[in-house]
């Protein structure tokens, strides 16, 4: 009967868009449960079509819904009660939802009367047909979602840890510390936090060693706890957070939790702290455990849960007073282990390339033993990038030949797109061969791996405290790592692990990897310990204490950097650096940059130096990339190249938006790194602001631009939608790889548009959506491009003066990381240029550095120099390199270098400058010797440097001190001083034309460098008490080790062995001061001092005003007068130091 009716309905066509939109207007209005235009609305109409087809089919086959008469009521058994079910079966009785449409029908009725549209509008039959379809759709989507929920719950129940839920909660209630040990796949990371939540715990922190894990776990747990769009589960990683006040469970990195403890000593914000993956023994994790151990004494009700693989559990339990351990079995399939040691003739010696034969045999073996229909990929562990490319090359030849393999490299220096490929699917009959560093051991998990081949080797970074150098060395792995690698074969089914070493090798491996705290430089750690008042780092109870020499080295380094004073206490800059979650060196740069008008470029450089280089190694050899990159290069140094690159990128972003992706590809740039830089940069800026080091700009949005704001708002809404859509699709779109993948090297990955999509149901539209550059979307959401462009334009086209100053700041930040070009570099090939640091001789520049392709800019120009002896050149153009890293791989390499004028930079930043009596010979930091030709010039340059440094220090301290006190900034006052200082610094850097020679001291010279302490009776020291008065603030006294006179913290006068007597009259020469009317014979020292304290009249007034302004002139030279008691005339006088000098001299001469 339905069909009869339908035939009657006039011109109603379910397929016509007009008809459909009429129904949309009735049922799917803006406020309805389903809105027209929403994804669900699209789904509905797709469902509707299926539903109609199904109905028609039913009608045709004659088995209509209501066809059969029910027997239900007929043979009722006695004793059962009547359920009162309808006699006639109808599928709609099975739906527990109804759509209330009286208002719709009323509307229909009204429009009936009002217009003649009746003929084309839906009739009551259509409405009811439609409503029925809608009910079925609602029922269908309910079933679908509930099905997912049920599946999720089933999976949770099947996790090995599920049975331990109650036991875990019980242990946590009874004990302050609990250790949960379970292997891969037991579900501890996702489930334990949920168990705690459901038991009513709130304020839970769960730390992870990796940022990426924080994000994915927060997503997973919030999904599993059906709270995906709430905020109860969040994550917080460096500079990014989803945390809100209602967050109950927070995933965060270990480092970040440490920062929080730094702010909130008793960590009151958390009730439970879970430290996950403690067995990985990262530096931060070991430290965190130590800190938490102390904290538990203050917070007896804090609950601590350590989660670990089943490795070395006793260590953790014992460290926490024999905390109870709960062991959960893992869920691994059986794995067959095959030992296949490499025969001696195929073992590579140190210098040779790896022999690929043992690896090829594994591929062949798999091909012979396992039919291609049986799926399963191979994961091959090698020690490093060079090894990977050697084996990749050989395997690729085999793969091209057999057409049964797709070879893919995996390591952290690959582009992300390239890394991502390992997750794609191989076509039928083909296996992936993933050749990876130990990144795939824990950080990256690839499904579908059935075979593992383990070389047993790993390259690990270690720190050589003697050479102050990082070293990347190859080692045998530990048994724990070996097992971890093996386990990767048994995640989805039974697997095979080939070990390219013998069982006896395996047994000889160390049980566990060396914890990071034993391998790395401890600078940041010690700094943080100092700021947390944890006492002497040497007596802190670590779970596995680092060697004390390592702690000593770090303390010394921090002293050199000015973060600790001589008593190993934090300096004011040290206090600030400890608060900044960045490397000490980077933090220093930021602080220095904030003092001068170089914040914007410094922010960029600091960010650039904190992320991996955006320049892809693989494109190094590509001539097109090299040409396209050329305009970005700066021969001042790599930080400037990075600065140019970033600026150019922002410009492209502003002009072309998403076009930047192509721009980057053409230049061999990994755009992801630039996105990281822009985020980091912004966060640095916020950090500086929050520490009062940067005036917050008044960004009052101009009220008149309402239209513009609305426009931006609409755009943001759109962007948010795009982001949500993207997140929805994420994960469900693994591509199918092509056989040719990887054949033509790493660059082939860039044009992935041709790749087919896996899992057939994706249509064209999806592909278009996938093309949305999600990074661009996120970028636009996070940053205001035009604001950024403005900020960047400040740092574009730096004047040579600004450039010089920026270099100096970089150099001071990087100090003592300085390298001296070898004196014979001019006669060497470009590739053989050699440099020396204080602690390591013969280092080279990394091929990625701009100086490796352009070393001439570091040479002393021939025209400017005179050879004055063997290995000795007189010039005013000597340069040094300041560098960010010194890393030894096959050679010791310097990377991220910047060149600076040697004499000026050394005088302005070094910790120790020693001179002879007429200051023509300077020894810097006990390793660099500078010999100046003219005593007059030497004196002038030294004295200028000393007063510049004093002023710089004074302003820096003022800036730091002021911010710590939290006072309102006295910016206006000091701005003039800062401008003046930067002016003077620049002049000093650019226009000091002093001829000198620059060389390293020989070992012999170093041994006999200083005169050493002089006996009290020595005639030249008779005047010493008087001299102390010459240096206000500073306390000049004979240096007890070097001899001579320590004038400032960095400057020791007349301590070098060839020095003449301290005050021998022959050194006095007549001199007239340009600022006052002083004219008298002075020693160099006296003269320098006078210059430092005697300023032009105008400046003096300025300064006096300043010290009236509240801040007592600290240790600097600003306190011009002092109380002086003269023993000779027995009078109390108030004099400037120069006046004291004059006064004393008066007596001196008259006495003689």
């Amino acid at each position: 009967m339905d069909s009869d009716r339908r035939r009657d309905s006039r011109s109603w066509d379910w397929d016509s868009p007009q008809c459909r939109s009429q129904l949309d207007e009735i049922f799917f209005r803006e406020n309805d449960y389903i809105r027209a235009g929403s994804p669900e609305h699209k789904e509905f109409w797709a469902f509707f079509d299926r539903f109609q087809r199904f109905k028609i089919k039913r009608e045709m086959s004659g088995s209509g819904f209501s066809g059969e008469e029910e027997r239900g009521g007929k043979d009722k058994k006695t004793g059962t009660k009547d359920l009162g079910l309808p006699k006639e079966y109808d599928a709609r009785y099975r739906i527990n939802v109804s759509v209330f449409t009286r208002d719709v029908e009323e509307r229909m009725g009204r429009s009936d009367q009002r217009s003649r549209q009746r003929s084309s509008g839906p009739g009551s039959q259509e409405i009811s047909d439609f409503r029925l379809a809608l009910l079925h759709f609602l029922d269908f989507s309910q079933k679908q979602s509930f099905g997912k929920l049920a599946k999720l719950r089933r999976e949770q129940k099947n996790l090995p840890i599920f049975q331990y839920q109650d036991r875990i909660l019980e242990l946590v209630r009874l004990h302050p510390v609990v250790v949960v040990a379970g292997d891969t796949g037991c579900g501890k990371s996702t489930q334990v936090p949920q168990y705690l939540l459901s038991a009513g715990f709130s304020h839970i922190a769960c730390t992870q060693p990796r940022r990426i894990a924080c994000i994915s776990l927060a997503k997973r747990v919030s999904f599993e706890s059906l709270n995906q769009y709430g905020s109860k589960v969040g994550y917080q990683i460096r500079f990014e957070t989803t945390r809100t006040t209602s967050t109950k469970l927070l995933f965060l990195t270990e480092g970040l939790l440490l920062r929080q403890i730094q702010q909130d000593e008793s960590l009151d914000q958390y009730q439970v702290v879970i430290v996950d993956e403690v067995h990985e023994r990262h530096l931060h994790c070991d430290f965190l455990l130590g800190v938490l151990r102390t904290l538990l004494k203050q917070r007896p009700n804090l609950r601590l849960i350590l989660m670990s693989a089943t490795i070395n559990i006793k260590l953790f339990s014992e460290y926490f007073n024999s905390a109870p351990v709960l062991q959960v079995p893992g869920r691994l399939f059986p794995i067959q282990v095959i030992y296949q040691p490499i025969p001696p003739e195929e073992q590579a010696s140190r210098s040779e390339k790896l022999d690929p034969r043992p690896y090829l045999r594994i591929l062949q073996g798999i091909d012979q033993r396992y039919p291609p229909e049986e799926r399963g990929d191979l994961l091959l562990f090698l020690s490093g990038v060079a090894e990977i490319s050697t084996i990749q090359e050989a395997c690729q030849i085999y793969a091209t030949h057999t057409r049964r393999w797709i070879v893919l490299p995996l390591h952290s220096t690959l582009s992300l797109a390239q890394q991502d490929k390992v997750f794609d699917i191989a076509p039928p009959g083909v296996r992936k061969c993933i050749i990876s560093t130990n990144i795939a051991e824990t950080s990256v998990t690839i499904d579908g791996v059935r075979f593992v081949a383990d070389s047993g080797k790993v390259k690990e970074m270690s720190f050589d405290p003697k050479a102050k150098m990082q070293r990347l060395q190859e080692f045998w792995i530990s048994r724990a790592s070996s097992e971890q690698r093996k386990g990767r074969a048994g995640r989805t089914g039974p697997g095979v692990c080939y070990r390219l070493y013998s069982e006896s090798d395996y047994n000889a491996f160390a049980p566990y990897p060396v914890p990071e705290i034993h391998r790395v430089a401890l600078d940041s750690l010690i700094l943080q310990m100092k700021s947390m008042n944890l006492g002497d780092p040497l007596s802190f109870v670590f779970i596995d204490p680092p060697p004390s020499s390592s702690i000593q080295t770090a303390v010394t380094y921090l002293k050199q950097q000015g973060a600790l004073d001589n008593r190993s206490e934090l300096t004011s800059i040290g206090k600030l650096l400890a608060q900044l979650p960045v490397d000490v060196v980077i933090g220093k740069m930021l602080v220095l940059g904030s003092l001068f008008n170089l914040v914007e470029p410094m922010l960029t450089v600091a960010a650039a130096l904190s992320v991996q280089s955006p320049f892809l190694r693989s494109s190094q050899q590509n001539p097109d990339c090299a040409t396209a990159r050329q305009p970005l290069h700066s021969n001042h140094g790599d930080p400037f190249t990075l600065l140019n690159t970033f600026n150019a990128w922002v410009e492209v972003k502003g002009e072309r938006g998403g076009g930047s992706r192509k721009w980057c590809r053409r230049r061999g740039l990994e755009e992801q790194r630039l996105y990281e830089m822009v985020n980091l940069r912004r966060q640095f800026k916020e950090l500086l602001k929050s520490h009062g080091l940067l005036e917050s700009e008044e960004t009052a949005p101009s009220g008149g631009d309402r239209a513009k704001r609305r426009e931006r708002l609409t755009e943001r809404r759109k962007l948010h939608q795009l982001k949500r859509d993207h997140e929805q699709q994420e994960g469900s779109k693994r591509k199918v790889l092509k056989l040719e993948e990887g054949q033509d090297g790493e660059l082939s990955g860039s044009g992935s548009d041709t790749e087919e999509r896996g899992r057939g149901r994706k249509d064209k539209k999806d592909r278009k959506e996938q093309d949305v550059d999600i990074q661009e979307v996120k970028f636009k959401l996070r940053h205001n491009v035009s604001e950024l462009q403005e900020a960047v334009s400040v740092s574009q086209d730096l004047s040579s003066r600004q450039q010089a100053l920026l270099k100096l700041l970089l150099c001071r930040g990087l100090y003592p990381q300085l390298a001296l070009p070898d004196e014979h570099n001019t006669t060497r090939k470009d590739s053989d240029q050699v440099f020396h640091t204080r602690s390591k001789q013969g280092v080279v520049i990394h091929p990625t550095s701009v100086f490796s392709s352009d070393p001439e800019v570091l040479h002393v120009p021939e025209a400017d120099s005179r050879d004055t002896g063997p290995d000795r050149k007189d010039s005013s153009k000597h340069q040094l390199l300041a560098f960010v890293t010194l890393l030894e791989t096959n050679k010791p390499y310097l990377s991220n270098c910047v060149r600076v004028p040697a004499l000026q930079a050394l005088l302005l930043v070094s910790n120790s400058v020693d001179t002879n009596a007429d200051c023509t010979r300077l020894v810097v930091d006990g390793w660099l010797e500078l010999e100046l030709k003219e005593p007059e010039e030497a004196l002038r340059v030294l004295s200028t440097a000393i007063s510049l440094r004093a002023e710089w220090e004074r302003l820096l301290q003022a800036q730091l001190g002021q911010n710590q006190a939290g006072e309102a900034s006295v910016q206006g006052l000091s701005r003039r001083n800062r401008e003046k200082l930067s002016e003077n610094l620049v002049r000093f850097l650019l226009y000091t034309e002093v001829v000198y020679s620059l060389q390293r001291l020989t070992a012999l010279q170093t041994q006999n460098l200083y005169v050493g302490p002089q006996p009290e009776s020595d005639s030249s020291y008779a005047e010493t008490p008087d001299l102390s008065l010459l240096f206000p603030g500073a306390d000049p006294k004979p240096d007890p080790i070097k001899g001579g006179l320590q004038v400032t913290s960095f400057f020791t006068y007349n301590c070098l062995t060839d020095s003449k007597d301290l005050y021998s009259e022959c050194l006095r020469t007549f001199w007239s001061c340009p600022n006052c009317d002083l004219y008298m014979p002075l020693t160099p020292l006296e003269r320098m001092h006078h210059e430092a304290s005697c300023r032009p009249a105008g400046e003096k007034e300025q300064e006096e005003k300043e010290s009236e302004g509240g801040r007592a002139g600290s240790s600097s030279m600003s306190a011009l007068t002092r109380a002086y008691h003269c023993d000779v005339c027995n009078e109390d006088l108030t004099l400037t130091s120069t006046e004291i000098l004059k006064h004393k001299r008066q007596h001196m001469y008259s006495a003689k």
Partner: protein, 115 residues
């Protein structure tokens, strides 16, 4: 910080299969559903699988005969004008229409084959 342990969320648990999940609403008219009405009192939560905010998901309800709390899974309950737990359905199977009886027998036999 307030150290008191918060009261656990309201949780729905199926008394037949044990499936449990927090619910945000109990009744026939979940929030923001406009024209939609439920034909029974249900335990409802936000649909965690929908990208849209206001979608609801019915977790379960009580059996109209024995008041057992059951989830909407076809293993645990059946809705036919009213909610019936599977125990009650089996007890009164004869009163249900042929279609449903056939479906259930088919399901049972396939289940038996699996286990």
């Amino acid at each position: 910080m307030d150290e008191a342990i918060e009261t656990p969320q309201k949780t729905f648990t199926c008394q037949l299969c044990g499936l449990s999940s927090p619910f945000t609403y109990y009744g026939q008219k979940p929030p923001n559903t406009r024209a939609i009405v439920l034909l029974e009192e249900c335990f409802v939560t936000k649909d965690p699988f929908s990208p849209e905010k206001d979608k609801f998901l019915v977790l379960g309800s009580t059996c109209s005969l024995c008041s057992l709390c059951v989830c909407v899974s076809s293993d645990c309950s059946l809705f036919y004008t009213k909610r019936f737990c599977m125990q009650c359905v089996n007890k009164h199977l004869d009163q249900f229409p042929q279609q449903i009886q056939a479906e259930l027998t088919k399901k049972q036999s396939s289940k038996a084959a699996v286990s």
